[in-house]
């Protein structure tokens, strides 16, 4: 509907209505949901004036809020209570019992609302503080809920879907080889529809530059295993599952709608995938984004046509049990348990190990239920989210301490009122209840605001496009999240409300009645404690955030030992373009020469593997003088690179030389090693001139001609085991990446330069190296962003706390300050005294917080790159910021104190 989008206020209120509507009983939502939403849209669309529409939207939200309790009551209360049989109904209103208590609480609610509305400043600040505290928790919980707790959308009977990972000597959860997967498919009774899957970025369409889409190669049975049957057409058939079978595809529903214009006759239509015509045979059902909803799949190809999906795939993978190439999921047969399946899978794997000891020795398999994040990723994501959850719980603590401080201050101000009510016989329980209800009102208002915040924040997260991939998972709060927010509000009420409530209702009657309200020494002690807690937690959050931000800056500057900024890359596979192996080497030299010759390109190189692209290239080597297990050799990563690789990526050449044109087939075999590898192989002795055997198929050992700096090959967190670099000139492999550095180099320039050498080349869509490596930085980026923000927030909240306490102290010490000034204390002296007092207040919290921060920083170690957990610069800066904040927060009331007129202060008593 909607003509022009409404004013901002209309949009906010619409959002409130939508949120509130989700709080209605499920049966109500099911019954009236679509009709009520249509009506709301019609109503709002009928009001052309934006201001009036805003007001209308607000009335709609209030209407929902008013109806909400009745909707639940109608469901919860027995029908006969509301609608007695026979006679014209009157609503009975029983006295006593739970209903009576509920009514009393209702009255308290009204009372607190009115008292808050009379003096809205403190409640507003408290609600804002609670909203931030609960909001962060709710936002993160929404993510946890969507990524870890909720079943994968579009999968039917998700409890029956499992994934199978290969284990190595009983550990790990790795990928499978294709023949092993087929053995499982045939040999396990407890599983039906065992399917292979592998994610592949694809290029879609286009004579010019293709569009990058998310692809997945899956074997027959994939959609059946997930119970996600196509909305149009069919899935892959068993006949299509033969290497070199027909080029067909199933496309995602969103892809079909947006790229194929929702064409109902799309079945049988060819589309261009990686520049290969592929026939669409099916459209996946709406609401199914693939079994990895985080990265919505656009195009599924048959696993047996990996040659379309990947230019440089080794097609022996269909027969070779030694090549692991994909992950596996399956559906349990009706009534089977994952444990049964696990036992059967283990038996099959044990049998394979006997029959094929060369490839399957020590290889088992584990079965796990499928979550939204498959494979080893789930544990990682769970750990990461757990860590963030820890931080947001800290911010909740700060906000709770903040609100508790405010409530204590408020309670101190009401000592007299409370004393009078106690004196005239009001029960203490009743007073405590009333005070708790006040806190509950604040907490509920905060929780509602928090839900809005979470709704907004999660929609923001979803619309932000990740580096090279689109987040396609619905993070918006659902009923679980609502329940979570309300539970937090309830907890908050108890923790925050109980102390001030007890404090306030236990005054020394006489003392309270005599003074004119609010000395509250006990309350003050509690408030000081709360402030100390806030400051302590702030130190933890600021230090963690500071460490993460600093390490991120470090990581972005030098992503794991190389500099990806300003580098463009594309991939090609010469074997697909008709180059026989004897011509590959020569053509690569030609290609490289042409690329380097382009004036805009400063440096260029070809390489078999890229650092930090999450892919691995492992092989054993046998260094000269090797003393370890001769059969296994020394395990290491390797890369086959052309001359110029180190220059292009700015990897420092520490000793010796780079590869050069002379390192070609027939010349003396050479190798370059990274520092860590040199150390592992030869200790402190110089590696230059030493030899190593790279593969047992090579006749001659290779001589080390250079030592280069360390590079993180897969992820930034990995330990540095070293890399062996082999010269492309001596090992011309047809599938390589092309890298080009230059400020003015973009994808088009690189593509055109390469196509100028041979216009028939099939290039993958060019992208920046930063985009390729950004994926590995994502966790650090998110963690740094979240903790940095939380730290700032905690600092702000604790500065409010410090300010509150100091201002209160100053007000109480007015007379004393007046006397001091009368006796000749100067204004700066008074300010200094007040600020010094604040430092004494802050010190214990800061010290304890600092120690705790050191402990937390150790937990963060895997996310900290290039700086120590006890980084003195970070801790120094945090301390300085914190002390400056305390000085500022206490300086303001201090200045006010220094302006006290001694005569007035003394007279006031």
């Amino acid at each position: 509907v909607s003509g022009g989008r409404g004013s901002p206020s209309a949009r906010i209120w619409e959002r409130v209505s939508t949120l509130l509507f989700r709080l209605f009983p499920p049966s109500y939502q099911k019954r009236h949901g679509s009709a009520q939403q249509t009506l709301t849209r019609e109503l709002l669309a009928s009001e052309p004036d934006p201001v009036r529409r805003g007001r209308l939207a607000r009335r709609v939200a209030i209407d929902a809020l008013r109806t909400l309790p009745s909707a639940w009551a109608a469901r919860a209360l027995p029908r006969t209570f509301l609608r007695p049989r026979g006679g014209r109904a009157t609503l009975l209103r029983p006295r006593g019992g739970p209903a009576h208590a509920a009514e009393a609480v209702w009255k308290d609610l009204g009372h607190s609302l009115r008292s808050f509305l009379r003096q809205p400043a403190m409640p507003l600040v408290a609600v804002a503080s609670i909203a931030l505290g609960i909001g962060f928790n709710t936002t993160l919980f929404s993510a946890v809920n969507a990524l870890v707790l909720r079943p994968t959308p579009g999968v039917s009977e998700p409890e029956r879907v499992v994934e199978i990972g290969r284990t190595n000597d009983g550990r790990g959860f790795d990928s499978f080889s294709y023949p092993d997967m087929l053995s499982l498919r045939d040999g396990v009774q407890a599983l039906e529809h065992v399917a292979a899957w592998r994610m592949n970025p694809l290029s879609y369409g286009g004579e010019g530059a293709g569009e990058r889409v998310n692809g997945m190669a899956v074997s027959a049975g994939y959609f059946e295993a997930l119970g996600a049957m196509p909305a149009l057409g069919r899935t892959f058939t068993a006949e299509e599952e033969a290497p070199g079978g027909p080029a067909v595809a199933v496309v995602g529903e969103r892809f079909w709608r947006t790229r194929l214009a929702g064409d109902a006759n799309v079945i049988g239509r060819p589309i261009l995938v990686n520049r290969v015509p592929v026939t669409v045979v099916g459209v996946a059902p709406a609401g199914f984004a693939g079994h990895v909803p985080l990265v919505e799949t656009d195009v599924w190809l048959p696993f047996t046509r990996l040659d379309i999906a990947e230019a440089n795939v080794n097609l022996r993978l269909y027969e070779d049990r030694g090549i692991i190439s994909h992950q596996v999921l399956a559906r349990l047969t009706q009534g089977a348990t994952p444990e049964q399946a696990g036992d059967e899978v283990a038996a099959v794997m044990a049998n394979l190990a006997d029959v094929y000891p060369d490839t399957n020795e020590g290889r088992g398999a584990a079965v796990a239920r499928l979550g939204p994040i498959p494979g080893g990723g789930a544990a990682m994501v769970r750990g990461f989210l757990g860590l963030l959850m820890g931080f947001v719980v800290l911010i909740l603590l700060v906000s709770a301490a903040n609100v508790a401080g405010m409530l204590l201050a408020r309670a101190a101000g009401r000592e007299k009122e409370v004393a009078i009510r106690l004196a005239i016989g009001c029960g203490r329980a009743r007073l405590v209840r009333q005070l708790l209800v006040e806190t509950l009102v604040l907490a509920l208002a905060g929780a509602l605001a928090a839900l809005l915040l979470a709704d907004w924040a999660t929609s923001l997260i979803t619309t932000v496009q990740g580096a090279g991939f689109q987040l396609a998972v619905d993070l918006s709060p659902d009923r679980t999240v609502f329940a979570f927010a309300l539970a937090l509000a309830a907890l908050m009420t108890l923790f925050v409300g109980i102390a001030p409530a007890l404090q306030a209702t236990r005054p020394d009657l006489l003392a309270a009645l005599k003074t004119d309200g609010g000395s509250g020494a006990r309350g003050m002690r509690a408030r000081r404690t709360f402030v100390a807690v806030q400051l302590g937690v702030s130190v933890v959050l600021l230090a963690s955030g500071g460490l993460l931000v600093r390490s991120l800056a470090q990581a972005t500057r030098m992503s794991g030992g190389f500099d990806p900024a300003g580098v463009q890359m594309t991939s090609l596979d010469l074997s697909l373009d008709g180059y026989t192996s004897d011509r590959v080497g020569l053509f690569q030299e030609e290609l490289l020469a042409a690329t380097e010759a382009h004036p805009a390109i400063e440096a260029a190189a070809l390489a078999n593997d890229l650092p930090l692209d999450l892919s691995e290239n492992g092989a054993p080597i046998w260094p000269e003088g090797f003393t370890g297990d001769a059969a296994r050799g020394l395990g290491t990563d390797f890369n086959v690179v052309s001359a110029g690789y180190f220059e292009t990526l700015r990897i420092p050449l520490l000793r010796g030389r780079d590869f050069g044109p002379s390192d070609r087939s027939g010349s003396a075999p050479v190798v370059i090693v990274s520092e860590a590898l040199a150390r592992r192989a030869w200790g402190d002795r110089d590696a230059l001139g030493r030899t190593l055997r790279w593969s047992d198929t090579e006749d001659l050992p290779r001589t080390v001609v250079g030592v280069v700096g360390e590079v993180k090959n897969q992820t930034l967190g990995e330990s540095e085991d070293g890399i062996v670099y082999l010269p492309l000139g001596q090992l011309p492999t047809p599938a390589t990446h092309v890298l080009a550095r230059g400020a003015a180099v973009d994808g088009e320039l690189l593509g055109n330069t390469l196509l100028a050498v041979d216009p028939r080349l099939t290039l993958s869509p060019p992208q920046t190296l930063e985009a390729v490596t950004a994926v590995s930085l994502l966790p650090s980026r998110v963690a740094a962003g979240v903790t940095g923000l939380l730290g700032a927030l905690a600092l702000f909240l604790s500065s409010l706390g410090v300010y509150g306490v100091v201002a209160h102290t100053v007000a109480q010490r007015r007379r004393e300050i007046g006397v001091r000034i009368a006796l000749g204390a100067s204004a700066p002296q008074v300010v200094r005294m007040i600020v010094a007092g604040a430092f004494r207040l802050a010190l214990p919290g800061v010290i304890v917080g600092g120690l705790a921060a050191l402990g937390v920083a150790r937990l963060l170690r895997s996310l900290l790159l290039g700086i120590s957990p006890a980084d003195p610069a970070t801790f120094g800066a945090v301390l300085a910021v914190l002390l400056a904040t305390v000085a500022l927060a206490s300086g303001i009331p201090g200045r006010r104190a220094s302006a006290v007129d001694p005569m007035e202060a003394l007279k006031a008593e």
Partner: protein, 116 residues
């Protein structure tokens, strides 16, 4: 479901009264009720559908097909309601009671002839 009797609140009265003129849907019900009461009874989407749900449960109204070839673009999403025979009977009973009350009130000098 039909045996219990629903207590009629003002919004429920007005929804029933409006439906007495013929089948109607949410959007026009809100408008008619507001017009009929001079804006004194204002229904929002939530309160309206809550009311409709209760009236339907009490067997006083039912969902029906859009009247005479709905020429509305929203036709398929809009839900139409009409009075049941029971609803019609109930409305008549209620109105009799009310007019009885009105007569008493008028006799006691509490109400003039015209408006409420």
């Amino acid at each position: 479901m039909g045996r219990t009797t629903l207590r009629l609140t003002p919004p429920l009265y007005h929804v029933l009264l409006t439906l007495a003129d013929g089948p109607s849907h949410g959007y026009s019900l809100i408008g008619s009720v507001a017009e009929r009461t001079g804006g004194r009874v204002e229904l929002g989407p939530s309160s309206l559908y809550y009311a409709l749900g209760r009236l339907e449960d009490a067997g006083l109204i039912r969902a029906c097909a859009p009247d005479s070839a709905a020429d509305h673009p929203h036709g398929e999403q809009r839900r139409y309601y009409e009075l049941t025979a029971r609803g019609r009977r109930r409305l008549r009973e209620e109105m009799e009671i009310l007019s009885g009350i009105m007569e008493h009130a008028r006799a006691a000098g509490f109400a003039s002839g015209g408006r409420r």
